[in-house]
Structure formats: structure tokens, C-alpha cells
Symmetry: C2
Subunit: 651 residues, 2 copies
């Protein structure tokens, strides 16, 4: 018989019994404690380090390479590589736990509320949306796909004894523009009794479906004020929802959490590998459904909104996220020639998918362009209005998978670049997402480091915008060279050698929340450079492909999960963004969520999204020969062709 051991996780004091040989990672999950991972549990990212404080457990050979001698001495191991052979007590350092732990493990609303108050995900809405008047401002074409219509119907009599459905349709035709209506079977059932019980004063929930009105539900009395929708940005790393009043168009609230799928792989490729390998589609689908349902529940509760009053959801995500949300196998997305199952996702029943809103509610996923240019990009185009204007513009969505669109109302091309998670807090030892405690601004002056954290908290790590600043400041201060290598000549208090490589001390142990120094090593910088090179090379390749120059781009929209801050100047300074007049560049934040909300509030906007998705020409960069050279040329700060491409950048 197999032995069983008890594992206690600190500081939560969560205890669990597992069979001999289970990994600490699995034991933690069983205990409801979720650990960080980038690699999906194969022992190469080092994000799941934990400290064994009682009992015997040893770091394996592979893990040793990722842990310092001191750490090994203190009992640190990689949870994913360590098998339980003894009763253990294990301490989980703050940086190793998934930050939204409280929202994940506790279904207690108290806990959730506490977490939200102390550790909010930053959500920023670009200022221009509310400030500037845009031709396609959602308010100008406000017409949600799902509406609630109050009807006071005349009672049937001998001269007017048309069927109940015909009576409702006759009433609706006076208020809505649909020429025909359909009523699904479940709404028809008991309709007759309901109408009479409600004395013919009813509210009909009507959705557009194939240009018809589809009557989803009949409620007693006038409930037309209680009609809400949810816009969701299903990001690979973050899931953000907005709860929107479909009668007024006003946003009732916004809430985000980290995508629970991250446990099974950091990027889309590793998640596809999980689903199509030893894992299962259902696990990943359920993970993101848990995200969405938790967010809806807590936000609705906070705002005092009945979940039954949420009738419509629009979700924007990359093609893989969209497939996983709907329970569609993503395997062929990953295989040359990169074919998704579907681009125009059908209007589906939210209940059928597993979304907990009104049981007749509808889920619409934003249409995608190709395997690596998804509904989030289409939503972003919608949000920027790129397809509505004659001016040629470019949308750059910086993320683990970066997407670029170039074009105007006449023609649009897109491409994607696998940039890696460096700018989303992955791939660097101290990298973290743009949440509380993340360094988001950095300035280096005379050897002094000035930084600013999100929430003004003690630093816990550094997020994308902080890394851009840091890279720029290191280059400007000549701590790193044009080839992005530390200059050994400036070694000193900040630039030190450790584990065989140079690393820069961004914050000393006494400054940080964890009591450990925040450092950026040469290999961290290498990862960042590769990310920025991939992004820039993709932008450059696409612009070249179209036959344009950067100077001809009249506007550049930059989207990404950078929180509320991104220094355009410094992003150009490191060669991430092209060197164009600064006023042409606009940081639009989470344009995917914004586009989803626009589609939620306006069926015309959703139609436009379909049209956009079908008219973009996608360029597969892996088939485009010059991309490799562009990438190589961009592995410098700011670029190997500094003078021609980045004339305004001076360190």
C-alpha cells in the first residue's frame, strides 16, 4: 500500500494529506493554495519555489540550477519538482503564490472583499474615450443586442383572440424594429399561465438573432430597468470584466483577476500543449469559467445587482482563449499551418457554456482573424476606431503574444509575434504583473534609483512599464551597452556579480516587502531584449510588408496590460516603439475590454467587428523571410540601425 503524508502549508496553516510521490505543487493545489508557474510545472521557470521548514524534502538536480546556494541551504525547493516522501511543513513566499489566492480559494465574500480592497488589479480606461468626441462613440449608436421591453397587452376577447405569442409580437412590433420574432421552446412553456397570472403586464427580454427578435424570457410587470451586460477581456494572463447597465449604457463596475489557467502554462502554446497532451480541455475551460463566474458574482453582489438581470455577455480574447472558453479543441492552432476551428463564433446560450448569468442569457465571443490574431485584437481595432478612418494607423498590442495591425478604413493587415511574457512580468526573476507593489516607474540618476510602485506599497517586484523604464535608464546611464550587456566597468554597489553573472540591484532587501533584494540579471535583460526585438521586428516587418514607412503612420495606438502608466518616450528609447513624433502615439490600455463593451452596447459595433475580422489580411511572420533579420537587428538598444531608425533617441 502507498504511504500517505501530511503537508502543512504556511503561512495559511492549510493542511492536506497526499499519497507518497505527489508533487508539492499538486499538494498545494489540493490544499487550495495556488502557486505561480510559468512553465506549466516542468521545472524550468523557478517561479514555484517554496521553503520546506519541517520534514525531509530535497531539491532535485534540475532545480538546483534555479536556486541559489543560500536558498538550497534554507530548504528551498521547486514545488513542481519535489515529491512528498515525508510529513512536511512548507512555507510559501509571497512571490511564489498566485496573487489572487484569496479570490480563488475562499468562496467567502468577506475574504474576497478584503482582497479587492487591499490588492486591486489596476484597470485603466484611456482618457480619450470619455474626453474626445469620436465618430463611433458607442453612445451614438447605443443599441444592445439584448433589450427588455415592457408591454401592457390588451386581454384577449372574442373579437381579438389571437394566440398568446402573436399578442406579444404585436406589442413588440410597436416598440422594436424587428419584422419577425421567434420564441424558443423553454420560453413558450408555461407562457400561457404566466401571461394570465401577470395580467398581461409583462416585460419581454428580446435578443437579436439572425436579424429576428428572439424572445428569451417573460417577466411579471415592468422590469425593464434591470438589464445588465458583461464585457469580458479574457487575457492569457488576466481576466477583466465590466458590468454594464444595458438600459443606460453606464458602467456599473469593473473587476479583474489572474487567469486561473496560468497554473497549466503561462502562454497559449503551453496551454494548448496541456490540452492536447496529457491534460484536458475541460480543466482549462472550467478554470476560466471559474474566473468569470467569480468576478461576476462578486461584482454583482458589490453593486447590488441580481445575477438574473444579467442577460448578455460579450467576451474578447485571443483565438486560443476564445476556443478554450467555448470548449473547442485548440490543437490545430499550434500546428503549421495554424488553423483555428472557427473565427465567427456563434451566439450561444451562456448557460450551455457554463456562465452563471440569467439562464436565458446569451454569450457572444468576438470574432477573430487568425490563429494568433484574435477577438481581442478585433475589439482593439473597434476601440481605436482604426477601421473607421482614412488615416493610416497602427495598433500595437504588447503582450505575451503581441499583435500588430496596420491600416485604415480601406485595408487592414495584421500579424502576431510571440514576444514572450517579459513585459507582462514573466521571464524575469523579479518580474510581476501590474498589481499592488509592482514598480511601475524607474529613474536612475547619479547612481541613485528612484522608483514608484503601484499603490505606493513596498516593492514586491517590477512590472512591464517599470521594466521599460529600467531598461531605458540602464542604457541612458550606460550601465548597459548598445548590445544590452552590463558593462563590467561600472560594477559597484548596484551592479554586482552573482551566480556567475552580473545583476543590477534595483531595490535592496531592506526596501522590499519580501526582505529580498529586487535584482535584474543579465539573463533577465536578455529576455526583455528578445521580447522588445520580437515586437519591434513584427511592427517593422508589417509596415514594410504594406509598403509604408513609420513616418507614414499617422497614429500609433499602444495597448497592453501596463496598468495606468506607460512612458512612450522610454518605450521608444529602448526601441520597442518606432521613433515617430510623440503626439502620434496614444496609449489605449485594455482596448480589448473596451471593444467588448462597445459590442455589448451596440449591435452595430458587433457587426462592424465581424466585418473587420473578415477583411483583415493576416501576414504569417513565420513565413515572411525578412522577419528574422529584423529581429536580429532589433536585439540592440535601441536598434542596430540607431541613426536611421531612432534618430531622436539620445542616451
Amino acid at each position: 500500500m502507498m504511504n500517505k503524508y501530511r503537508v502543512t502549508f504556511l503561512p495559511d496553516q492549510k493542511e492536506v494529506e497526499v499519497a507518497e510521490g505527489a508533487t508539492l505543487f499538486d499538494a498545494a493545489e489540493k490544499a487550495g493554495v495556488y502557486l505561480n508557474t510559468l512553465c506549466g510545472g516542468v521545472g524550468v521557470c523557478g517561479k514555484c519555489r517554496v521553503q520546506v521548514t519541517k520534514g525531509n524534502a530535497k531539491a532535485d538536480k534540475q532545480s538546483i540550477a534555479l536556486l541559489s546556494g543560500e536558498e538550497i541551504q534554507s530548504g528551498y525547493v521547486l514545488a513542481c519538482q519535489t515529491r512528498v516522501q515525508d510529513n512536511l511543513e512548507v512555507f510559501i513566499p509571497a512571490e511564489s503564490r498566485l496573487e489572487e489566492e484569496q479570490i480563488l480559494t475562499g468562496s467567502h465574500l468577506e475574504e474576497q472583499k478584503r482582497w479587492r480592497e487591499t490588492c486591486p488589479l489596476t484597470y485603466s480606461e484611456p482618457q480619450w474615450l470619455s474626453v474626445h468626441k469620436r465618430p463611433y462613440d458607442p453612445a451614438s449608436v447605443f443599441e444592445p443586442l439584448v433589450s427588455k421591453v415592457y408591454l401592457e397587452l390588451p386581454e384577449p376577447n372574442r373579437d381579438d383572440n389571437i394566440p398568446d405569442t402573436a399578442r406579444i409580437v404585436r406589442g413588440l412590433k410597436k416598440k422594436l424594429k424587428y419584422s419577425s420574432y421567434e420564441m424558443p421552446l423553454d420560453c413558450l412553456q408555461h407562457l400561457s399561465a404566466k401571461l394570465r397570472e401577470y395580467t398581461w403586464k409583462i416585460t419581454a427580454t428580446v435578443a437579436r438573432h439572425n436579424d429576428m427578435g428572439r424572445i428569451l424570457q417573460i417577466e411579471a410587470g415592468n422590469t425593464s430597468d434591470g438589464n445588465y451586460g458583461v464585457a469580458v477581456d479574457v487575457g492569457t494572463t488576466t481576466v477583466v470584466i465590466q458590468l454594464v447597465n444595458l438600459k443606460t449604457g453606464q458602467v456599473a463596475g469593473v473587476e479583474g483577476s489572474h487567469n486561473l489557467q496560468a497554473r497549466y502554462g503561462e502562454d497559449v502554446l503551453s496551454r494548448i500543449a496541456f490540452v492536447c497532451g496529457k491534460g484536458s480541455l475541460d480543466i482549462l475551460q472550467q478554470a476560466v469559467l471559474e474566473n468569470i463566474n467569480n468576478l461576476i458574482q462578486s461584482l454583482a453582489q458589490e453593486k447590488g445587482i441580481d445575477i438574473e438581470d444579467i442577460t448578455f455577455m460579450v467576451a474578447a480574447g485571443n483565438t486560443t482563449m476564445s476556443h478554450l472558453l467555448l470548449g473547442l479543441m485548440p490543437c490545430s492552432i499550434r500546428e503549421d499551418p495554424y488553423v483555428p476551428t472557427v473565427d465567427l463564433y456563434p451566439q450561444v446560450s451562456a448557460k450551455e457554456v457554463g456562465i452563471n448569468i440569467n439562464s436565458s442569457g446569451i454569450l457572444q465571443v468576438m470574432p477573430s482573424v487568425a490563429s494568433y490574431v484574435g477577438g481581442d485584437t478585433v475589439a482593439g481595432i473597434l476601440a481605436c476606431g482604426l477601421a473607421d478612418r482614412m488615416e493610416t494607423a497602427c495598433l500595437i498590442d504588447i503582450g505575451t503574444n503581441g499583435e500588430i495591425v496596420v491600416g485604415n478604413s480601406e485595408r487592414m493587415l495584421s500579424c502576431s509575434a510571440s514576444a514572450g511574457p517579459a513585459f507582462e512580468g514573466g521571464d524575469t526573476k523579479c518580474g510581476m504583473r501590474a498589481t499592488r507593489g509592482a514598480i511601475q516607474k524607474v529613474k536612475i540618476s547619479d547612481g541613485r534609483v528612484i522608483y514608484e510602485t503601484i499603490g505606493k506599497a513596498k516593492p514586491r517586484g517590477i512590472c512591464g512599464s517599470g521594466l521599460i523604464d529600467l531598461l531605458y535608464e540602464l542604457a541612458r546611464n550606460r550601465v548597459i551597452d548598445i548590445d544590452a550587456k552590463f558593462r563590467p566597468s561600472v560594477k559597484g554597489k548596484r551592479l554586482v556579480e552573482a551566480a556567475g553573472q552580473l545583476q543590477y540591484m534595483l531595490a535592496f532587501p531592506e526596501e522590499t516587502e519580501t526582505g529580498q533584494a529586487l535584482v535584474i540579471s543579465q539573463s533577465d535583460i536578455d529576455n526583455l531584449i528578445r521580447s522588445k526585438a520580437a515586437m519591434f521586428a513584427a511592427v517593422k516587418s508589417l509596415v514594410d510588408y504594406v509598403g509604408l514607412t513609420f513616418a507614414e503612420l499617422e497614429r500609433i495606438y499602444v495597448a497592453g496590460g501596463f496598468g495606468s502608466y506607460l512612458s512612450i518616450e522610454k518605450a521608444i528609447g529602448i526601441g520597442l516603439l518606432p521613433d515617430v513624433p510623440r503626439e502620434r502615439i496614444e496609449f489605449v490600455g485594455n482596448s480589448s475590454l473596451m471593444g467588448a463593451r462597445m459590442a455589448l452596447l451596440s449591435l452595430h459595433m458587433f457587426e462592424k467587428a465581424i466585418s473587420i475580422s473578415q477583411h483583415i489580411t493576416n501576414v504569417e511572420l513565420s513565413y515572411y523571410a525578412p522577419f528574422a533579420d529584423e529581429y536580429m537587428a532589433a536585439l540592440y538598444l535601441p536598434h542596430i540601425d540607431h541613426e536611421r531608425l531612432f534618430p531622436s533617441v539620445k542616451y
Copy 2:
């Protein structure tokens, strides 16, 4: 504690244990023995008489009125009125059991087959459909709503890597005319793996839905030959299905059974009363689903057709039958002002309703006109082509609920008359449905009675067409008078007095299968006369209402469950049908089933049915004052105004 008793039913030797106080009717049902009932178990029809051969059980006071002294002496009781207070042995006479017992109780196909061979329901298809060329012959617009299309798709490559769904749609657009397609979620799931496993050689099942192509399923290879549909006539008394090849349009087979709902009431009013009173909707819905599913299963098995290859079903029934089939409460149909829930039934998933065909299969119920003019009438109009021609015609569907339509391609009016079940075998002691052993033709000559039974079997009863003949022959031979009363002066061997009334011996005990005489009593004749009067008065009222005369009707279509035989001459002779030149009258049999098949084979026909249902003006005879007088005038043979209205009828 309540006592339990054992009841054994003979001749089946079926034993069951029931609680004290259960009725024998319920005990029989529990034992899987189904008894006849017209009244729904309230003790007034006398159809469920059984003989208690062991144990104590007494007929109650009410029952005694319906049983002869001799019967009471022999232990006869009404099963629905007799409560079990002892262990019993009960014999069920042939006439008291529902004839399709074998198909109901045995799921064994052997038994079913035996029953079908020995006791087929007669189904007749009017000759003209296959003989004459009609402008709307289904063959000329053959286009079933559901089709199967074989596609050999090119494998994706780098130059052609559109999504899987787009590839399928591209293939379909070359073969079908829909400009847009949708694929429901369950078909999308696993689509990617299927396509690759099937090496892109697939058969798509496509249904039209709101003018789009809806892709229901994807199968491996070319399965386009395996596409079948089912047309169903859901009659109040009889359910008949036709299995039709949707690729060729050919009828593969036909099968019928008695509506199992009959246990809960003979006509629609008593069934509505059951559902809306102490009974339940679910019981009646499940009953008719059992009918349909059994018929499909046995017919498909007989014809060697896979049930998975049945993708589409069209059902025609009166408004109540249609509501019950879909699980819609029928209560308001019965209450003034007679409002049904719905007239245009939505296209629904057969599986959702409980029909066992392909799990993606579709059920479409024919649209209805009003509470008492249903989809069966609309189907009948379709079958007759009444709405397609300029000539003014009349459709008379004789049944428990009779429907009449008068009109042409310009204008149509309808009405209904509650005629009672006399012509369907109810309301008369020896009446039965048009099945094996039923007398369907009668001639009386010099006191001799010559009859013909269905299947040339020994007579078991008399069906509608036999009753029409009999009534006519009794009148012609002056056994009954113009007021439809037996003439006491002709009393003799055939016309005898029993239980205080005169009755006519149609068949002596030695001639019959049951060994009991087949007789028609004065009260039977009264019931028949009331039925025929209601039908004729309805026809007359509607023709008057429109401002026409019978002479202006260029054609009269007569539909009804009369088996293969109906004497037009004798039907006119008793004043059931108007006295017009005989060649204008066409007996079209089960026009409801025929119309359902037309809609099954042609979506244009279904559209026409919708158009018909929406353009008929229904006249509620209960609000039409002259109807009562017309009814009174028609309670004579052939009519009180014999000379003016039936000049050609001479006895």
C-alpha cells in the same frame, strides 16, 4: 396501514399488487393492460367494462345504468368506477381493451411485428396524388429543409489556412444556395479533430433556419444517401407516421397506432380537462411521444433504416395535439375566448422535445389557425391545393373535432364543429376505429344485411364509413324515419326492443368474433345524427357566412379517418355532405399526413403552410347565431329541408 391486494388480469395472466381503493382501471394500467375509455375515467362511457371472475367487487350505482342486468349478474363492472377491496381475478373482454395493446405493452419487437401483421391500421393514400399532375406536386419543388451534402475539402496549407468552419462553409456555398451559415456549439466541439480524422472528406447535415444554413452535424465520408424524414399526423385518436427518404422523396413506409392519450380522455376537451385539472401535462406529452417513438423505432427497424439517419420530422395535429406534443399548457384553448399559446411553432430540437431521432434532428410542427383549426387542417389545405387555385373549394375534415375550410387562392375561411367521436367509432356501443374486423360497408336489402369488414375478418364492431352506410340503408329501407327514429311498426328479427329502447341487429352473435351481437340502438343513432348534424350545419353555416351556395363550390374535399373506403353517395344520402354533383367531391383520406409529408419534402410547402395559417379567417361558430338553427334543421334524414337542400336524395 393500507391493505394491498393482488389483481390478476385474464386472458393475459398479468398479475399486479395494488393498494386498497385503487381503481381496476389504474390496476390494469399498472399491469400493462390498457383499457378503452371515451370519457377519461369518469364512468359515463361504459367502454371499460370488465368481468370480475374471482373475488368481491361490485358495480357502483352509476355503473349499473350502463350495464345490462345480465352483465351485472355475470360480474361485469366498469373498471374506472370499481375500487379494489379484495384479491381479484378479472377478465378483460376484447372490446374493452385498447386494440394496440401489444404495441403498447411489449417492447419486444417480435410481438410488435406480429401485431402489425395481424392487425394493421389501414392507411390510404388518395389516388390522385400519384395519378394527377397538380401544379404544386411536391416533386416539382423538392427541397427538404434538412439536406446532407458530401464535401471533399482541400487540406489546409500555408496559402489557405482559413478556419475549419470557413472551409466547410466555402465548400457548402458551392453546393447549396444559402448565403450564410451557422454552426451550433455542440457541432463545433471536436470539429477540428473530426475533420482531420476524416481526412477532410465529410458529409454535412444542413438545415435551413431563419434563411440561413444551420450545420447540424459532420459525418465521416459520404453518408448523403442516409437522410430520412418522418411525417406525423398526430390525430386525437390515431397517430400515423410516414418514413420518407429525403434524398429521393420516396416513402419508405407507413405505420400507425392509436393515440395513447386516449386513456386520459377521448376528445381534446377531456384531455385538456385532464391536464388542467388533476392530471399533468407531462403524462399526456409522454404518451404521444411514446406513440411516435415506438412507431419510428419499429418502422425504421422493419425498413433497415438507422434512426440516426432520421434528421427531420414534421408533425401535423390539431392545436391541442400540437401543444401537448411540445409540452405547452393547453388550458386557455378550452376557455372562452379560446386562445392558444402559439400558432407558429418554432423549429425545435427533436431531442429537446423527446423525439428519438438523430440527436441534432429537428422537429417542426405545422402552423395552426386557431384553437380548433390546427396544423392538421393547414396540412390538409396544402394537400388539396385549395390555396393554390382560383376555383372555390371546400375542405371537410370529418372527425371528433370537425374542421371546414371554404375558399380559394384569394381568400379562405375556416370553422370547426365539435361533432363528437361517433364517426370515429366512439359514442356508439359497437362503434370502433377503422381497423381489422370493423364493418366498413353495409347494404340492407329485403331485410337481409350484407356487410364487409376490414381485413375480411369476423366483425368486431363498426367503423365510421360502416355507420354512414348503415344509417343510409336504415333510412332507405324505412327502418328509421325522417326524424331518425326506429319505426316500431317494422319490429321483427332485426329490430328488437332491449333495455327500454329499440335496437337493430346488424350481426347476430354467431357471426361475430366476440360472440356478442352487434347492434345499433336508438341512442346510438341519436349520437350519429347529432354528429352528422353538427358537421353539416358547420359546412352550411360557413358557406352561408361567406355568401356562397353549395352549387358554387367547384370542389369538395372530404378528409377523415375512414380507412380506405367512404361512400360519397351515402354520405350525401344521410345529409352529412352537401348534395352537389358527385364528381365534385373527392375523398382525400388522411390529408393531414399528406400535407405534413409535403412540408417535409419541400421547405417552400412549409412556407406556404405558414402563409395559409396566417391568411385564413376563422369563424367561431359558437358566436355565430344561425348555427344553432342550422344544427336543429340537420337533425333529420337527410335534412328538414330535404327538397331544397337534398333534391337528388331519394330513399
